[in-house]
Symmetry: none
Subunit: 463 residues, 2 copies
């Protein structure tokens, strides 16, 4: 595979333009207004897999958005790699904070990306990282050096909880049979220091509704005499953390895996500057659970965050109203061994129990997923590390991520194989935020590194 | 004035028809689409005052809608009563909830109004109550028993904050000179039990902004490691009340007038059913400051309510984001002696002080107004009470309202005279709501009671 560098250089512009075309389709799975765009994107992905060299590609319908499945089987005796990715993206709002329209991709340079980065919703998460695999596969086909079988499973509901992927995987274990699952939907430490994500947090996402009076009331005539749903919701949310920022839900920490001091010391070796971290976010200070470092708080510790809140009059000027209802979207990041369904039940039970008389409370579970840890002594991990070492000139560091890819735990349960998370994004890529971008360097480096994973994985498998 | 009853009976139909004509003009001051109608209404009011017997009436232009001024000076040595009211009305929407068109007045009977009520926007607030004064004045002119001087100041911007009235009053203190101000823009307990509003609450309205990271963040990658502005806002709002629902802002209660047990016992005599109150709002229980009854909580006690809150993702579905900012609109209802500007400062100082490291907080004052209380031993109050007692056969009960009429405090400051709030409306009249109406009984009873106020006020003034 010595000519991979050359191939990437020759086709660089085309690789970038193809990705830009894909980014132009606003495949926002959370908003039904974009449903046709999501469908169109699945068609575009199908086409790209066919062009790249799959000998079989199909659009698999689900109760939600379709899953694009493609494969290239060269020899049943050889190992099979299953590539997973997603073609749907997060909503773009707050739209006014984008410096260029989220679905009109442009290349701009930044301090971290002097050679330019593609700015668009989904540039990194996950269209860009998913498409690296399509182009790496194209290279191996074009150069007759695909060393094993490959299967692609690209879904369109990852940003809304992969609600229908579970059923699809359960019903297609034979079709999806593989020796290792390869995903690029995470990040690495920096463009100088690659890392491999060895742990993911689980997730429980709920929506709560607090109802007081049966109609909006005049705050002068009723203020102080009835429970104000917004004040009550604030009180209830506030009570979910104690003064040390521990979560107060009874039983919440019961199964939390406590790392040994050795493991925590190992983690602490990853290069990290608290000053740079604060400056990057323009924060005067960090904030979190007492007794843990910033990197521990966002990786090995469970959290509870309000992702959205609304109620009452939020227009221009002033309106003296007591709203009849107030709402919040709340998500909890979980660590390995915390079962998301159990946690969702504990949250619901507790949240209902702290509702004062004068209001009624509803909790609607949205979705969730289990956490995941992968051992670093597996063939897959070693192959990934060898690939990074060759292209970056330095070994990758194992890192626990705070993010969640709920389906990873599902894959292991249903398909009995380990997942390798080869991420090429950076924390500064602003995924889920305005001005999401993906470095040209990272995009091309990914295309260059992936074939090496195939090569080393097959070699190590033979031993 | 023994013939007032008879006069009202003889002219009853005309009184009703004249009001109906006035109600047909959609004088919605909040909507510029009706600006000509608002102007037309001021002309109609001017004409009605001339017809009723004013010897001088003028339309006073302002930067907004005009103020109609009229007067009848019979003897500078006699007391002067200034009547204030407004000819503009609230918007009619939601129009679909009206059982008859808001500007096509019809008379319908209800359980509370077996003799019929006029259904139309402004029927009670305030065209109906304002016009009672015009007709009461007409009676006194026709029967040569007007006992004092009278001045009318009828504005057209009350429903949009009386923005230009302040300047008008400040610039015309001589012209508006009076011994007592009489307003019918409030309600009474019931048609069997008259009441006089002796207190209004002040208001301080602010908007707060909590900023954490400089951009929205992925709640997985950053959750638990940075201050979440929504969680922090909830925590800060929650801390503004203690476990007894007392407001925790230092100095907030310093000037709060504490009523004596006698005064509270007097208040408690007002007929009130907690069950009916809860059922009307479909509440399983009331909620408020410990140690006070529902009627005390919404009248003699200051309150703090969030009128609106927003932040993060509030669209369909789920988004795992930590918002960069969270916002809330917060208003405090104040009681007499609490200065709204001082309270706004105390709130701002305290709210900034409780912001934890990791966020920055801004407080933007919106507007406010002073509370008002009228002593029940004043000549004006006694005269009003004597008038009610004579026409209703039972004394009026003094009642503190939770609402605010900022101009009343302005009148006292600029014109150095007390305001008497002689309301004839009922809570069930649905002012500011669909199907606003005003009882025929209430309308005629008001016309019958007002001249007696003039009579007793002049008599008591002589002593």
């Amino acid at each position: 595979m010595e000519n991979i560098k050359a191939y990437v250089q020759e086709n660089k512009d085309r690789f970038i333009n193809e990705l830009i075309e894909l980014l132009k389709i606003p495949s926002v799975s959370a908003d039904t207004a974009y449903s046709q765009d999501v469908i169109d994107t699945s068609e575009a992905v199908k086409l790209s897999l066919e062009k790249a060299g799959c000998d079989f590609v199909e659009i698999c319908e689900t109760d939600g958005y379709p899953i694009v499945y493609g494969q290239k089987m060269i020899d049943p005796a050889l190992p099979t790699i299953l590539v997973y990715g997603h073609y749907d993206v997060q909503p773009a709002d707050p739209i006014e904070l984008w410096t260029s329209p989220p679905f009109e991709p442009v290349i701009k340079t930044t301090d971290i990306h002097p050679e330019g980065a593609i700015f668009a919703r989904g540039a990194c998460d996950d269209k860009g990282q998913m498409y690296m695999h399509v182009k790496a596969f194209e290279y191996m086909i074009q150069n007759n050096n695909l060393p094993c079988n490959v299967k692609f499973m690209i879904e369109g509901e990852e940003e809304v909880g992969s609600v229908n992927l579970k059923t699809f995987v359960e019903n297609n274990t034979e079709k999806l049979k593989n020796d290792v699952i390869l995903i690029s939907d995470t990040g690495m430490i920096s463009n100088q220091q690659p890392s491999i994500t060895t742990g993911l947090r689980g997730l429980s996402y709920v929506e709560v509704e607090v109802t007081g009076p049966n109609r909006d009331l005049h705050s002068g005539l009723y203020g102080g005499a009835v429970a104000n749903p917004i004040n009550i919701l604030a009180k209830m949310i506030s009570s979910l953390h104690d003064e040390n920022n521990h979560i107060t839900i009874p039983g919440f920490y019961d199964n939390v895996e406590e790392l040994s001091l050795e493991e925590r010391a190992e983690m602490a070796k990853a290069p990290f500057s608290l000053e740079k971290y604060k400056n990057a976010l323009k924060l005067n200070d960090v904030y979190g659970e007492k007794g843990y470092t910033t990197n521990e708080r966002n990786s090995i510790r469970p959290t509870l965050d309000v992702n959205g809140i609304w109620g009452g009059y939020i227009g221009e000027g002033a309106k003296t109203v007591i709203a009849s209802q107030a709402f919040a979207k709340i998500s909890m990041r979980l660590v390995p061994n915390q079962d998301w369904e159990v946690i969702t039940e504990l949250f619901t039970k507790h949240f209902m129990s702290i509702a004062p008389a004068g209001v009624t409370v509803k909790v609607k579970p949205h979705h969730g997923g289990q956490g995941y840890v992968t051992p670093i002594d597996s063939i897959g991990y070693q192959a990934a590390n060898m690939a990074y070492t060759e292209t970056f000139g330095t070994p990758a560091i194992p890192v626990r991520s705070g993010g969640s890819i709920p389906i990873v735990a599902l894959f292991e349960k249903e398909l009995k194989s380990k997942t390798i998370l080869m991420g090429f994004g950076l924390d500064s890529d602003a995924i889920h935020s305005p001005n999401e971008h993906f470095g040209i360097f990272n995009y091309l480096k990914g295309i260059e590194t992936i074939p090496l994973f195939y090569k080393y994985f097959v070699e190590l498998s033979k031993k």
